[in-house]
Symmetry: C2
Subunit: 451 residues, 2 copies
């Protein structure tokens, strides 16, 4: 075995769930299937997800039980049924329960520390999916039919490699690789090492199946073997894909288990750097919806800042437990008082009009002149301070904000002092802030042995 | 007569030299021709310029006497001869003398307050010009053959219209319209008003003769009738031409004698505006050479400032009596401490090298991250203050400066306080500064009735 193979073997061992946990998962899966079938009828329960496929990662163990409905059942009724009776069911087994939302609601329970999910789905004809999870049983069947124990280890390596840099999970939060996509990539390339070698040479857009990107927006195209009209990796953003490419290069240059298992604690200097944070209460909503709303609002603010002359160098958003954060690193928190206003060329129809108009402007700083063939004037900025400008945007609904967040934005607080942002955050929020302030992803910090 | 025709008639009257001055000019022209022919031989003197052509403007009267040499005479000898014996000649007539330089040296004298110029030229075959002024006698002959008294008034109107905004004169200082070009324009369009009506509709590049611009750089092409291979208006810059276009539009909208005869005294607010001035002693050199050197140095500094992130909104240069000034209006005198450094895409050959390199940079402000498909990092600026940066450029010869000005630049003073620049300037320099600070050309100030 080469050095890197030995390294991966040792990491893979550490990623396998313990026999005790597997035993516990097996036990509860059986109990849950039995209970579901008692309540919903025979043949209504199936075991899905990484447990069913044997690709669970240690300390991320969970059991997905799908509850199957007939296509005639209205979606709302199926959801209600699962939320109500699923909750009772978990409680009867001695567990605790949270309601969760992905693309649709499901029940998340905890049984002796083991996470279990009860998810409603439909038994539909192939291709006539009613909800996005209706494909999942087909995925499980497909993966189980081709994946052996050795390949399950490779899937775990890939998942951990991605998780360690926030590249895992197809939700809007991460725009990353789903568990299913990880499985497909290992099936396709045979091993984690083969995949990483390939990935280190990718140039986006990457097309692994078919002849062109599924849509111009797809960073990577990987057709779903159980539904060839679908790009299984559609959720992966260009940034996420690019991080995988870069991380693959660095891993191959200097292989280390830190790319799978370690988090940096490096704290960079913030001297001379400028941050602006909007801290707001966020409403109770399905997480994917809220991530979407926060993302839209972040992008709207960034665009408005940038259009006004501020330079957002980096942006990110976060929420947890009712508290949300939009954060910007700006080149500067202040702008010069005046700016160059470029008018029409002297030969244009409205050159005289421009000269007339400028003279009437309250914010005129200097009368028009001629530079080359163009008229220019000097104008005064109404806002020279980023926080004032953001407050003005929020108060007047002047940027492209998520409609649902507007009332919450109005009550938000704007900070430009990083210490104050830290004070306003929970423990989890501070970890997010550390990541943001550090700028470099975990894998680059590991590569440089920072922290 | 229309209102504008009456207005122009009245302005034209005020632009005609007084009979007394014309008489004096005629007298001294005859005396000078006689003296030159006594010294240099018969047929060696000719009367040229606006006096010979009858297009002199009141209070700008001057008499040009050309001294003709045979093509065999070396250029240096001809010049030396004129400088030495021309000086004696003017003094013998009771005048005072300065040496001047255009493309080559000439003698400028004053006789009872009348300016006279003694200029060496060559009698060459048509087209075989030795110095640029050898064409002048042909120009004089041509203009005299087609221009009558009425048209001379029109030429004076055009000259005054241009002079009042620094658009007159082909030297590097103004990059404007020569007297000869003014005469050609009136010959072509018949009157000042016809020209202005045409000019108000021009779109650069303007081609009045031929089929295309003489060179891609020519803002306006007007073939010289005595030398059809030459663009008589080659010296006119795009900015100068554009000012004429704009001024023509405003004049036609609101005709007024102030476009010919009045200077604004409007002083704008400078609140929030940023100026940087380099004040230097300048060497004794032909003015066109010195204007060229100052222009090159100004452009070199502006380019360096701009490349570093400062925003020069406007620039200009000036000199007189051994004192030079380079002045910049900047958006800001300071820059943020950090800036975004954009690296290669993750898929490029040197992505890993970029990550390695950045970590070694002393000015690294934050380690690289991945945005889209690109690597970026945050770097610290060495200079955040414009004056420090300019001093650094000058001390290290780090911008494209005129070689001859470098030692003078090294001893220059840099100011960012406008009052201090005013204090460092002569009366003439302060007028230049007023114009610069006002931003708008005189004609826009007149249009808005400012000052």
């Amino acid at each position: 075995m080469t050095y890197v193979e030995e390294l991966l073997e040792s990491v893979a061992q550490r990623l396998r769930p313990s026999p005790e946990t597997l035993e516990k998962a097996k036990l509860y899966a059986e109990k849950l299937v039995k209970s579901v079938e008692e309540l919903f009828g025979p043949g209504t329960a199936s075991v899905e997800g990484s447990f069913a496929r044997g690709t669970m990662v240690r300390s991320r163990e969970e059991v997905d039980i799908f509850i199957h409905f007939k296509p005639e059942t209205p979606v709302e009724r199926a959801a209600e049924d699962v939320l109500k009776r699923g909750t009772e069911l978990v409680k009867n087994l001695g567990g605790t329960v949270r309601l969760r939302y992905a693309s649709h609601p499901y029940v998340e329970g905890f049984l002796e520390g083991l996470r279990v999910n009860l998810v409603p789905c439909y038994d539909t004809e192939y291709g006539k999916w009613i909800t996005p999870v209706d494909r999942t049983p087909y995925h499980t069947r497909y993966v189980k039919s081709v994946l052996d124990e050795r390949m399950a280890d490779e899937v775990r390596l890939l998942k951990a490699f991605l998780m360690n840099d926030g590249l895992y999970g197809a939700e809007i939060r991460n725009k990353g690789f789903s568990g299913y996509v990880c499985e497909l990539l290992i099936i396709r390339f045979g091993s984690f090492l083969q995949l990483v070698r390939q990935a280190s040479g990718w140039k986006p857009p990457v097309v692994l199946d078919g002849e062109k990107p599924m849509s111009p927006a797809s960073a990577i195209t990987l057709l779903d073997p159980v539904d060839k009209t679908r790009n299984a990796a559609a959720a992966v953003s260009l940034t996420t894909l690019s991080k995988l490419i870069m991380k693959s290069k660095l891993f191959l240059k200097e292989p280390s288990d830190s790319y799978f298992l370690s988090r940096t604690s490096f704290k960079p200097s913030v001297e001379g750097r400028c941050f602006l944070a909007v801290v707001l209460d966020v409403p109770e909503r399905p997480p994917d919806v809220l991530w979407g709303e926060l993302t839209k609002t972040l992008e709207g603010l960034a665009k408005a800042l940038s259009g006004y002359g501020f330079k957002p160098l980096r942006t990110d958003r976060w929420f947890e437990d009712g508290k949300g954060l939009l954060i910007f690193e700006l080149e500067s928190l202040s702008l010069p008082q005046v700016y160059l206003h470029t008018g029409p060329p002297v030969w244009s129809m409205n050159a005289v009009e421009f000269i007339d108009e400028q003279a009437r402007k309250q914010d005129l700083a200097a009368y028009p002149w001629v530079e080359g063939e163009r008229l220019c004037s000097l104008r005064r900025r109404r806002f020279t301070n980023a926080a004032d400008f953001v407050k003005h945007l929020i108060d007047g609904d002047l940027a492209s904000f998520s409609k649902n967040l507007r009332p919450f934005l109005k009550k938000s607080k704007i900070y430009t002092n990083l210490d104050e942002v830290y004070s306003a955050m929970s423990e989890e929020g501070r970890i997010f802030l550390d990541d943001f302030v550090r700028t470099c992803p975990n894998f680059i910090a590991q590569y440089h042995s920072l922290g």
